[in-house]
Amino acid sequence: MLNFSKINVLIIYFLFFIISIFSLLNFQNKDNQIIEKKINLGLDLQGGSYLLLEINSDNLIEEKIQSKVIPIKKLLKDNDINYNNFKINSKSLSLSLDNIEKFDLLFNSRKNNLVNPYLDNYRSYELGYKKISNKEIEIFFSKFGLLTINNSALKQSIEIVRRRIDDVGTKEPTILQRGEKRILVELPGLKDPERIKALLGKTAQLNFRLVSENNNEFGVEELISENGEKLNISKRIIMSGENLIDAQPSIQNQNNEPTVSFTLDRLGSQKFGRATTDNVGKRLAIVLDGEIVSAPNINEPITSGNGMISGNFTFQEATDLSLLLRSGALPTPLLVVEERTVGPDLGEDSIKSGITSLIVGFILVIAFMLYKYRVFGLIANAALIANLLMLVGVLTILEATLTLPGIAGIILTVGMAVDANVLIFERIREELKTEKSIIHAFDTGYTRAKITVLDANITTLIAAVILFAFGSGPVKGFAITLGIGIVTTLFTAYFLARHLTSLIVLNTKNKEIKI
């Protein structure tokens, strides 16, 4: 175990230097980087916000099932199937039919089925039905139908969340899908996430609807306007936010009031122009997420495709509203189900205390090893320093994220890394008692300790891997440093330290060696 071929020595030190050099990349000048690799600081160290958002597709499913009502009725009528008792439930439709067999053929037909499309990728129809009694059936979304609705809502939400966050202009945001219903948002450096949370908390479904004088009319709902007035608003939507191409905050010249001016696309301009021409003198309600923003009088037809929303805004509100309108409406409301925000000063404090405890722990361990093993303590300590350099180097190569528990993992590695060398040295001590040849004693010591060192480290590695798989955020950072630390520990103990030991042992020949 003490004989190294030249090529082996070369490989060992080459690996060590290459990996260690990467650790230096973290100290290079930001403007003048040779290789753009460095360890990223986790949100708990650099400050920032972590948000976990969840979509709620219940409303969407309700809406979607309602949108099936007319097509289904039309399908039945066109094919002379009589029906009655048509009921719209929250997530299903129920009705009585006189000819279920005929309905079944139409409903489950793959060709040209607009009512109940066949989802090729799932090999399933969008809708399914079950018989409640002889004549009555209930129609609902199939498992994959629901999944399709959910997935498209999630994708769309991620896109809109990204647009809104980009528009606010935070640095390097991370926006990722997490599972089937969640979106993970990381905003490094953000001190106060309340504005972004407020912006993400609004679906921003905007529509323009006429104010009706007649409150008994069918298709009217009562909403409360911005100044507390109860208004009857027609359910018929003249135009919705989808037709907006742009929205910007502006100051109205007459009274310095902040407003939002918007530009419509061609279709929107046509709809808006027609509606305003036909209804001059009436009031037009601008409804955002079911609340009236304002309900101005239509003084003259607006055909230019440009308009303005006023509603006693502050300039900030006008800015936020235009941002929301520009980015488009979210398909479902988003709920913040988890939030972790760390202020920048706490992050700095954490880095400071983390580094301090690392240095102190390191010095204590080094001093203890020197005291215990003298010359071989030096070797163990050289291995320990090499270990740290390599650990930081590997973290840099992987561009891993360093968290506060991650720093704890490095300190713990320092404490536990010497174990490999301790196991070996203690074994050699024992061998020296019975073995006459010193070289032989060292050799057997390394050989015999090898299995124990491996067994002992693999158990910790198992714990680190499981922690990595199940941990989240900061804890994952701990698992990473602990796991990589074990690998670098094995390398430094079994290659570097062994080579250094062999140099000493082979050079002193069979003179007295104390360990």
């Binding site: 708990d44 969840e54 309340e194 949370k197 908390g201 913040v336 189900v337 988890e338 939030e339 972790r340 925000t341 760390v342 202020g343 000063d345 706490l346 404090d349 205390s353 983390g354 405890s357 102190v360 722990g361 204590l364 361990v365 203890f368 215990k372 506060l404 528990p405 720093i407 704890a408 300190i411 713990l412 320092v414 404490g415 536990m416 010497v418 174990d419 301790v422 203690e426 001590r429 024992e430 299995i451 124990t452 067994d455 002992a456 480290n457 158990t459 910790t460 590695l461 198992i462 714990a463 680190a464 499981i466 922690l467 798989a469 199940f470 941990g471 989240s472 900061p474 804890v475 701990f478």
Partner: protein, 298 residues
Amino acid sequence: MTNFNFSSKFKYANILSLILFALSVILIFFKGLNYGIDFKGGTLIELRSNNIEAALIRDTLKNMNLGDVNVKKFGKEGDFLIKVEQKEDNNKLIPEIKKNLSESLNSEVNFRRVENVGPKVSAELLQSGIIAISLSLAAMLFYIWVRFEWQFSIGSIVALFHDVIITLGIFSLLSLEINLSIIAAVLTIVGYSMNDTVVIYDRIRENLGKYHKLDISNIANLSINETLSRTIITSVTTLLALFSIFILGGEILRGFSFAMILGVLIGTYSSIFVASPILKFFKVSYKTLEKEEEKIVP
């Protein structure tokens, strides 16, 4: 080499372990664990401000009717940690609390840390924590079973249970908070304790092959003594590192490093006084190893 007679103390140590284990189980079941917001859900706010009293913060929050509110000093003078229980997701809660506190404290308030975990997420985090610990125990069981014989596997798992339960028992006794980093600590303890046990087991296996005439008590005794120096040195260096984190690493790492310190102490004890006696209980001898070899060799 030391020559302590460990095996003569096995009986007393086992009685002590059983009592501690039983007390811990009783504590965990009846007093319960003090789950942090990671596992219980709720809101945590760490704030820094000059010249304010905990009572003022408490009064302000009490007026908001938030339910269970906990305010305590946290580290330096002027630093406070606020915990608010929360039964359902409410996105408006944090801005409201911040606004009210800023207004009533009447001085610059620095919100250093805000965490909010909804009920669904906290339930999931708890579940994945339990799965992670169970899985790590199972993985250790399997690893030792592959590397050693089944008697060793059971011995090491009993020692691990012993360590985890007693650590949690002490956390329950002292009402210390269980959060995500404590789960990380427990998993690391599992790894560390296993590491310690494996070193002694390796030596026991080796000595069983070497000295056919010694019985398991003597073999265990010999092996523990032979590895004792290593056991102590490694525990000391690990504890040096951990105390450094505990004292200098700041408030956030305090619970984590405390759990680890407990775990290292208990884990070291258990590999000597729990894992080894179990081999005696199973009457492990060199014949156990031979049987195993016959199984593998052909």
